[in-house]
Amino acid sequence: MSKWLSKGYTGLILTFLYAPIFVLILYSFNQSKSRGHWTGFSFRWYERLFHNDAILNAFITTLLVAVIASVIATVLGTAAAIGIHNMKKRSRTVVMNVTYLPVINPEIVMGVSLMLLFVLMGIKFGLLTLVLAHITFNLPYVILSVMPKLRQMDHYLFEAAMDLGCTPWQAFAKVTLPEIMPGVVTGFLMAFTFSLDDFNISYFVSGDKFQTLPILIYSMTRKRVSPEINALSAIIFIVVLLILILVNINDARLEKEQRKKEDALR
């Protein structure tokens, strides 16, 4: 009885989460412009989407900003994590508290505060301001992903490498970096996806020339009817689904290998 209850409840919540998305996708194949009348199956809106320069430009801008910002944030953040890790407890606490600020602070406040800064500094809104803002909100995620890996690491390893004649840089490249790599990769991926998806901060620092995809989507939703959005949602949904499935298959494979190794050791 309780088994059926929990199954039913899970089904209800999943329906709640997915029904709106599936309705969107369904109507992306609708012939007519209307959002309620089904008049027949067509790929019309997909064609319109791919001939829409604004969308293609926004897509390129989004990718460009995400790549630049997440690469810079990963390098800066990894270096920062190592530095913070070696600080004394008191200064480390202060720095970490400031690092949490962008995570906890509402995005809109961060957006308007950066907007004020750029206006006062006289930097024109565009690609540069977008990238600077994105690096800023990406940094905490990189640092928070790398820090735990540094804590788990045996710090004698680094010293041993130094004793064996490595320069600090060699010791870092050969010992520290491979140890913390999973954290660095996680941080990079988080930064990249947050960048792709951000609207609340980008909206305040993008100006009117440079639109990222979320900003364009927002301007499309302000119009009464725009079925190209449905087509775009369907494409985004399929891409995300594929990526998540691939990541998961990979994870499951790694776990299996891990278990095999453990069994072999027994």
């Binding site: 309620g36 800064l117 995809l213 949602s233």
Partner: protein, 271 residues
């Protein structure tokens, strides 16, 4: 590795792009348009008290609804087979990766007066019901967008609960309500506080959900701030004062949730 200097570029960055901008917001909030000290912005901000309280109220409702919906679900997930757990969590995360603008837009098409839900009721000769542009629609949008943020931290805490503790409580004669009250809830407290924060903060500061589903008649503090910076009202001083008020609201919320949990696992906030 005993080098601290590698953090210096980041420290500079932090000062320039986090601390100084927040300082600017604070500075703008206590000056008038000509740059003289004045507290008028705060006076003007409190003229909007109804909007501010409405934001807090709707965000609280959304947070409580999320907690009630997510708690049994997270518990069910944590007690299912490991192979199922992976799939279930994946299913919860998948909508999260869709841009929230699209997800909110989806509700627009469902809730409209000639939208799908009203059409469905129309078959039975009911309606049309006024759903879009109500505060209920805004709360629905908040719950829909931020529910996964409640489910995931709760689930990750509940998977760590040792099942033998629950069995022990049963052996000692607890009924399920007592087990819930004395074992499961206390042990899942860190997940509750994280989830509450992760739902409340974006809900109370949203301006997109209220605009798309509330139709301008249900303004929230986020809409007010956005209007002062990018709208026709252009008044960054008032906008800054409102931002300060919003930050104070969040701080109070954090302080309240931290009262309930002694251990703060901030790294648990990251998914």
């Amino acid at each position: 590795m005993k080098i601290k200097a590698t953090a210096s570029p980041y420290l500079l960055w932090m000062i320039l792009f986090i601390i100084i901008p927040l300082g600017l917001v604070a500075y703008f909030s206590v000056t008038d348009r000509s740059g003289h000290f004045s507290l008028d912005n705060y006076k003007d901000a409190f003229a909007y008290a109804p909007v501010i309280f409405n934001s807090i109220w709707l965000a609280i409702i959304a947070t409580v609804v999320c907690l009630i919906l997510a708690y049994p679900l997270a518990y069910t997930f944590s007690r299912s087979r490991p192979s199922h757990q992976r799939t279930l969590i994946l299913l919860i995360m998948l909508p999260m990766w869709m841009n929230f603008l699209l997800r909110t837009y989806a509700w627009m098409t469902l809730l409209e007066n000639n939208g799908l839900i009203n059409r469905f009721f129309g078959f039975f000769g009911l309606g049309p019901f006024e759903m879009i542009n109500t505060s209920g629609a805004v709360v629905l949008g908040m719950v829909y967008n931020y529910l996964p943020f409640m489910i995931l931290p709760l689930y990750s805490v509940m998977t760590k609960i040792d099942y033998s503790l629950i069995e022990a409580a049963q052996d000692l004669g607890c009924n399920s309500i007592q087990i819930l009250k004395n074992v499961i809830i206390p042990l899942s407290m860190p997940g509750i506080t994280t989830g509450v924060t992760m739902v409340f903060v974006p809900s109370v500061s949203t301006f997109v959900i209220s605009r798309m589903l509330g139709g301008g008649s249900n303004m929230l503090i986020g809409d007010l701030i956005e209007m002062q910076f990018l709208g026709n009202a252009y008044n960054p001083n008032l906008g800054s004062a409102l931002s300060m008020v919003l930050m104070v609201i969040i701080l109070i919320c954090m302080a309240l949730t931290n009262m309930f949990s002694d251990v703060e696992e901030k790294e648990g906030m990251l998914i």
